[in-house]
Symmetry: C2
DNA sequence: TGCCATATTGGGAACGTTCCCAATACAGTG
DNA sequence: CACTGTATTGGGAACGTTCCCAATATGGCA
């Protein structure tokens, strides 16, 4: 059975009805079919091992019921949880979800854009590494951005409030007496606009009159490898920072381990604050003080927004930002004099 | 521009050529086109913002150049690395890769099978949670199984050698003087066949004449939550095991943390061996002794096998198993008398 | 110049479904 | 019984591409 070439016509022939009737049975929005015909069709489907060709159906209906969720790092619990939450919500509405992993690579991202442009998906929820808004607008499918990476107002955006989250972390370090605070984040080439994180940092530094040494802005990949590189670069600095604010937890935890390996105890000799609050942040020693982002909320909200956008492609774009929340653990020293 | 309804005919009209010529330009296998026509077509494509409809093309050619990699847990570094390695290999051959996350759920897995049956993918590489081989055979697309979950010989399989890996871990514990060894793995309902891991364990236990207490076979989910549950169940046992062999590292590391929280020091009061060797296994304290599986190799081999299978759907199925390798860290105590 | 081989081009059919509309069957009502 | 309204059915067109094949243009050579 299942000779894999069976189509609606063969089913119709075996069931003794027309292809239209078979279509009414197999397509979800089927019109009325008599019980007798229904039974005959179902029997024929079973006997022939018929499977509906979604490509042909989509070509005709212009709906695929498939959504692509594109993220930069599938292995990062932050992203996988966002994706999972979005998947939950979208599947409940009858969409199937597949995930695209760009692995922080522009080439891969471009590849997924091409895939999306070819009409295979009804919608996309994506985090862009390149921040190339023109490509995204040219996609031709309803799209929701996850993460606040630009000032873009024409595309729906669901993210956490980067400025607020960054200031929360820096404020915390400042309160505990740190003055020479570094930021480790990812900047893409010199021509690109500075990341929001970096701008929030610059703003904070100038507000508080902290040293604005360019050495303190360290650009590394937001990965474990980036964390190790961060520590190598840190150790080579002429004047070492008191504290580092890291762009995500993966980076921060790798840095934490690398510091320990180098004989510096995080939370005493150097302070580290992360971003995201992934499960590992609670499991490392010392625990990582970090800013929690509402992952499930983010994923669910992105899905919700995408559903609305797919219903009404002409709707006004929205911008939804969720605040972060500081989670205190052990990776920040308290340098206040009155505590000593 | 990009009114999103532009098709090959409009491009042809603007360029002053026939649709056939446009097709020759946009489809990869295009025949010969004069430089003049090529230029005219490209200009028209650009002006109209034309994007080729992959659905229509696939319907005609019966090729989608899209592959689905289905895994049970996208957030587990083991699976995400396997997926990434497969993606690397497949993209090099011109296929695009999307990932399906089943989250250990049978319902989700069934949903992806349905998706696959509808002809959207040229091939699938998947790890089945249910082990429902009949569904997989009925998929109608070239399929490679990742992971050795059954005796199935009709489907290409790429996996690690579960029996060898399990025995390696148990042997290691045995050598170090452990005799009451528990196994924590995931069994699905009583009617299902026992997992390979479990069978290898039973075999080892009977070979060495170790206690075959059914209490020692603990079935939990292979997740962090499962690790915490494992420790709760462990603490309630009348006669506590010396050592636990855990089905994967996620489980093992969560258990390790839970033991510490309960006041038992892993590597002294209780011994733990994991499986996979994910990065976190080296970062936890104590380090997790575990069996390393060759992730990249597994993913690349699965991709390779799938490529061959897509080339020749009638080829003989193969079964490729890679051995594991013991990585010694600090989570196992040495109970040998001669050492004391 | 005439002829042949090759390069280029265009039109119709096909991929497998759903949509539209007209045709027929059926049941209920006066 | 005739009539009307609804339920069910079937056939043709359409979705947007590629494939096949025949037609035409082009260039080289005798």
């Amino acid at each position: 059975m299942a000779s894999q070439k069976v189509n609606i016509h063969e089913v119709a022939r075996l069931a003794g009805v027309s292809k239209s009737t078979v279509s009414r049975v197999v397509s979800e929005r089927g019109g009325s079919v008599s019980p007798k015909a229904l039974e005959a069709v179902n029997a024929a489907i079973k006997e022939l091992g018929y499977a509906r060709n979604a490509l042909a159906a989509s070509l005709r209906t212009q709906r695929t019921y498939l959504v692509l969720v594109m993220v930069p790092d599938i292995a990062n619990p932050f992203w996988s949880e966002v994706a999972r939450a979005a998947q939950d919500r979208l599947e409940a509405e009858g969409y199937s979800v597949v995930v695209g992993n760009t692995d922080w690579s522009e080439a891969r991202e471009a590849r997924y854009y091409e895939l999306a442009r070819s009409g295979r998906f009804d919608g996309l929820a994506l985090n862009s590494v390149t921040g190339d808004m023109e490509s995204i607008k040219g996609l031709g499918s309803p799209t929701v951005l996850i993460g606040e990476r630009s000032e873009e107002l024409e595309i729906d955006t669901v993210g956490s409030d980067t400025r607020q989250a960054t200031r929360l972390a820096l404020e915390y370090l400042y309160e505990r007496g740190h003055r020479r605070i570094a930021i480790a984040t990812s900047e893409y080439g010199t021509e690109r606009v500075l990341s929001r994180r970096r701008r929030a940092y610059d703003e904070f530094v100038s507000e508080r009159g902290l040293p604005a040494d360019p050495e303190l802005a360290i650009s590394v990949r937001l990965s474990a490898e980036g964390g190790r590189e961060l520590v190598r670069r840190f150790l080579e600095l002429r004047e070492r920072p008191d504290a580092i604010f890291c762009g995500n937890d993966i980076l921060a935890i790798a840095a934490l381990d690398a510091f320990k390996a180098a004989g510096l105890e995080p939370g005493r000799d150097v302070s580290i604050v992360g971003m995201d609050d992934i499960p590992a942040a609670a499991q490392c020693r010392p625990g990582l003080t970090t800013v929690r982002k509402p992952r499930q909320l983010l994923g669910a909200a992105a899905a919700e927004r995408l559903l609305e956008r797919m219903r009404d492609p002409e709707a006004q774009a929205e911008r939804l930002l969720f605040p972060g929340e500081l989670v205190e653990r052990g990776s920040v020293a308290d340098k206040r004099k009155d505590r000593r």
